[in-house]
């Protein structure tokens, strides 16, 4: 069986999930299985099929599992969003159309993705600008104390970090391909620690410093962790120097401790993380901040238990109002809703699906024949994995909660489009890596 036919068969779980999911929501709402739900499902599956056809036409050798795994997550996401808010689900489907257009454009436009290397500094600067944009008055806006989005009234809301992460990874991969040899060979070893020459390592430090600085400025711990983790994993793969990782982690630990205790917004998040069930923090009496969201994320998971309350059964709103019990159930908090309805088992299944997708990403990195491709695949897979870790870790209180989306599942145009572009790049690398010589 060819890779593409395998991919097509791989879409069967996604299609079953969409059909069963929409049927489930409708039965729960005591409606007949109406045409509308079938249309929804059909349109969504049509989009998946279209994506598959684009890959079939352009990337015959690409990994056959990545797209179906992403489609499975996205199908799950749209069913979940539909269950939370039908209007959002329709918008999400529209974002998918746009996302698939950009997905195809990326594949067609960057058939030879290695030409991206030429623009690495442009890409780095654009990424930086994207990151700073939300701090500009008039267009930037603050959500939950973090400057995460750009809002042009009546036109769109857009989260630039979602795109900046891709640019950041492209820059890293390209830069480290050039300098990985010198970083190691030109290095001196002091007390068993490799100290790379400043001349070559400098730009990495600068980019890191700028990114960190801006993120502190933007008050977004989650993205900071995501970017920094991607930097460390790519650097480690590029140099095989574990000491870089150790030094990097120590530097991050010291920085995080300092920021955590000195930046009020982040300190508040740390307090909420440590004591989410403290009544004072819960009711937000301390400095206008509140652990309400964190606590309710935990309450939702507790309500779910081992097997969940059942699809469509979770309590989302406060009765008699339209107020959500957990703020942002369709975006940042969707993992809590998933756990509430499908329990530990459902949540674990979602995480394992992510892990399988990430595994295909790293597999691509292993198969790639040039260092740029390897580093790009590593960086993209890492940033995807880290994004999942940051938001799920936040919802489950492994780390302080910050608002990023759950890739492919959460509602959000920026998130869907950016992650489809990320997927397109991974498929491009994969196609080249698996092409018969």
């Amino acid at each position: 069986m060819t890779a593409r036919n395998r991919e097509l068969l791989g879409l069967i779980p996604a299609s079953l999930l969409v059909t069963a999911g929409f049927a489930g929501v409708f039965i729960q709402r005591s409606n007949a299985l109406s045409n509308v739900s079938l249309t929804y499902g059909a349109i969504f599956l049509g989009l998946c099929l279209a994506g598959h056809l684009v890959i079939r036409a352009t990337l015959p050798y690409a990994d056959p599992y990545m797209f179906p795994l992403a489609a499975l997550l996205a199908s799950f996401g749209i069913v979940m969003i539909y269950r939370i808010d039908t209007t959002l689900a329709r918008q999400q489907a529209q974002w998918f159309v746009l996302g698939l257009i950009l997905f195809s454009a990326t594949i067609v436009g960057f058939r030879d993705y290695r030409k991206l290397e030429r623009y690495r500094y442009t890409i780095a600067v654009v990424s930086l600008v994207l990151l700073v944009l939300p701090r500009f008055p008039g267009i930037g806006y603050q959500a939950n104390g973090a400057y995460l989005g750009i809002h042009i009234p009546g036109v769109f809301v857009f989260q630039p970090t979602e795109f900046a992460k891709i640019g950041f990874v492209i820059f890293l991969a390209s830069y480290l391909r050039d300098t990985r040899q010198v970083l190691v060979q030109g290095a001196r070893r002091i007390l068993g620690v490799t100290i790379p020459p400043i001349k070559h390592f400098g730009p990495v430090i600068v980019i890191w410093g700028l990114a960190m600085g801006i993120l502190i400025l933007l008050h977004d711990v989650g993205s900071s962790l995501m970017f920094y983790g991607a930097l460390l994993s790519t650097l480690y793969v590029a140099t095989s120097r574990f000491s870089f990782v150790v030094v990097g982690l120590i530097a991050f630990g010291v920085g995080a401790w300092y920021i955590g205790s000195h930046v009020p917004h982040i300190n508040a998040r740390v307090q909420e993380w440590l004591h989410p069930l403290s009544p004072a923090l819960y009711h937000g009496t301390q400095g206008g901040t509140s652990s309400y969201q964190q606590a309710n994320a935990l309450f939702a998971q507790a309500a779910g238990g081992m097997f969940g309350q059942g699809f469509g059964e979770a309590t989302l709103t406060i009765p008699g109002t339209k107020d959500y019990l957990i703020p942002a159930p369709s975006t940042d908090m969707i993992y809590a809703v998933i756990t509430d309805e499908l329990g530990l088992f459902g949540a674990a299944a979602v995480l394992i699906t992510y892990l399988m997708l990430i595994a295909r990403g790293f597999k691509t990195a292993v198969l790639a024949r040039d260092s740029f491709s390897t580093l790009l695949a590593t960086g993209l897979s890492s940033v995807l994995a880290l994004q999942v870790f940051v938001i799920v870790g936040g919802v489950t209180r492994v780390i302080p909660l910050t608002g990023v989306t759950l890739p492919f599942i959460s509602y959000g145009g920026s998130s869907i489009i950016a992650n489809l572009v990320l997927l397109a790049l991974l498929l491009l690398v994969s196609d080249r890596a698996r092409r018969p010589a």
């Binding site: 998971q301 081992m306 756990t339 390897t374 870790g393 489950t396 492994v398």
Partner: protein
């Protein structure tokens, strides 16, 4: 570069395992604590989504029922308003307020014991439907008691001594359980005086002294004691009503005319240990074994008049002579005094009073029938019979004559406790009794708070008699 890639992927596997571990922490290991956390609004919302069962009177009158609220939630309404509020209580889930049977029978009302159709309904994602609770309460008796109290603060308790089933339990001031706001004493109170009042028992307590004296074998009904007045009790003069000196009288006569000085001497001679032993058998020193929330029950017992604290049982500091006539710091509930009469009425065997009769699931099946339970064997059947005869005499010839019902023989004991400052003439009139005297079916305890010099025989006894008559006619 392959080895570092595998390691990086390995690290992500570890990180994701951490996520699953933490998810299981909240979903499984810490789940109960999180669900029970008072900050967790879900617990309340889930409760609001339960169609709580009805609470009904013995004749099927609906006393509490669920009404539809927004978003598949339910509210609560009490069709009989303030008539049953003190026993039914309320359950306002949103504000976390609950009282009475609504609280103590909450598990039944939420449907812990559910029928098969309710379980199937739940599996299908339907509403959880609770069970209906039938009480022992009789709306007619309840209404009559309220009417006869005529707005005066006080309590009426009626129960079946053979089973402990409470037929009526009325206290004034009352409140309307549909409207909790703006309820302030003296016109409105959530206090269920029948089970929570700190009343002075007065002469009704002479029944306890009589039982202790006869059942312990230290006295017989014909034992003669000097009824002169005043006498010194614990160094302080004690008088009979009107400072009347009765001279030597037997116990039957002493009870008939409620002679204080005789019962004070009897109590002293019976002694603290024996008095305490019998009080405990009657249920004193403990919250009554009623199916109401413990917060709504008061343990009747002697309190120190100086410190206001309860005496330890059989404390040498208590004035046992005055306690023996229902004074000396002894504080009681009307329910406790009803239990005293009930023990005598039921051949010495005190049945635990209860309000819940049976629990019926939505399918109409009785899932729980409350069986009468013995609280204690207070006295021998012989003593009970003798004391019942003495109580019959109180109504036939003595202070309790206004309780006479002609065709029905009533037995009882009056009480008129002085509760004001010396010479203020403020009294707490009482009547406790049962009917028919030969085979008692109904026990009634009535008290009225703080009257201007009125007597138990004149104000409390007629109320008790009227309620006995009504209840006997219904069950006769």
């Amino acid at each position: 570069m392959n080895v570092p890639i595998s390691r990086v992927f390995g690290l992500f596997i570890v990180l994701f395992a951490l996520l699953i571990a933490w998810t299981s922490r909240w979903t499984v290991f810490d789940a109960k604590a999180l669900r029970d956390n008072p900050l967790n609004a879900r617990t309340i919302i889930d409760q609001e989504k339960i169609d709580r069962g009805q609470i009904l009177a013995a004749d099927g009158t609906v006393l509490a029922k669920s009404v539809n609220g927004p978003d598949h939630t339910f509210g609560r309404t009490y069709p009989t308003g303030s008539l049953f509020s003190q026993s039914i209580g309320y359950a306002y889930i949103k504000t976390g307020q609950a009282a009475g049977l609504e609280l103590s029978d909450g598990d039944y009302l939420r449907g812990v014991n559910t029928g098969i159709s309710a379980i199937i309904g739940q599996l299908g994602g339907g509403t959880q439907v609770g069970d209906n609770v039938y009480t022992t309460l009789d709306p007619k008796a309840q209404r009559l008691a309220l009417q006869l109290l005529a707005g005066r603060p006080g309590s009426v308790v009626a129960l079946d001594p053979r089973t402990g089933a409470i037929k009526a339990m009325v206290s004034l001031p009352s409140y309307n359980d549909n409207h909790l706001k703006g309820c302030f004493p003296p016109s409105c109170s959530q206090l269920n005086a029948a089970t929570q009042a700190h009343d002075v028992a007065g002469s009704t307590f002479k029944l306890v002294t009589t039982v202790a004296a006869l059942d312990s074998g230290k006295f017989t009904p014909s034992s003669v004691v000097d009824g002169k007045s005043p006498i010194l009790v614990s160094g302080v003069p004690l008088q009979n009503d009107g400072n009347q000196s009765w001279g030597p009288q037997n116990l039957t006569t002493a009870l008939t005319y409620s002679i204080n000085t005789i019962f004070a001497q009897v109590a002293q001679q019976v002694g603290r240990p024996t008095m305490t032993q019998y009080m405990k058998r009657f249920g004193f020193y403990a919250k009554p074994p009623i199916d109401l929330p413990p917060d709504e029950l008061f343990a009747s017992r002697p309190y120190s008049l100086t410190s206001g604290k309860p005496y330890p049982p059989a404390s040498p500091n208590e004035d046992i002579g005055r306690i023996g006539i229902g004074q000396g710091g002894l504080l009681v509930t009307p329910m406790q005094m009803a239990m005293v009469a009930a023990a005598v009425a039921n051949g010495g065997k005190l049945m635990a009073p209860h309000l819940t009769d049976r629990v019926v699931n939505p399918d109409g099946q009785t899932v729980l029938q409350i069986k009468p339970t013995v609280f204690s064997q207070v006295m021998s059947p012989t003593t009970a019979q003798v004391v019942a005869q003495m109580m019959r005499k109180v109504v036939e010839e003595g202070t309790g004559q206004p309780a006479n019902l002609g065709g029905i023989s009533v037995a009882g004991k009056t009480g008129t406790a002085s509760i004001g400052a010396n010479g203020s003439n403020i009294t707490e009139p009482w009547f406790v009794g049962f009917a028919p005297a030969q085979s008692p079916q109904i026990v009634v305890a009535v008290t009225i708070d703080r009257t201007q010099g009125q007597f138990g025989g004149t104000v409390a006894a007629p109320i008790a008699a009227a309620i006995m008559k009504l209840l006997l006619s219904e069950h006769g």
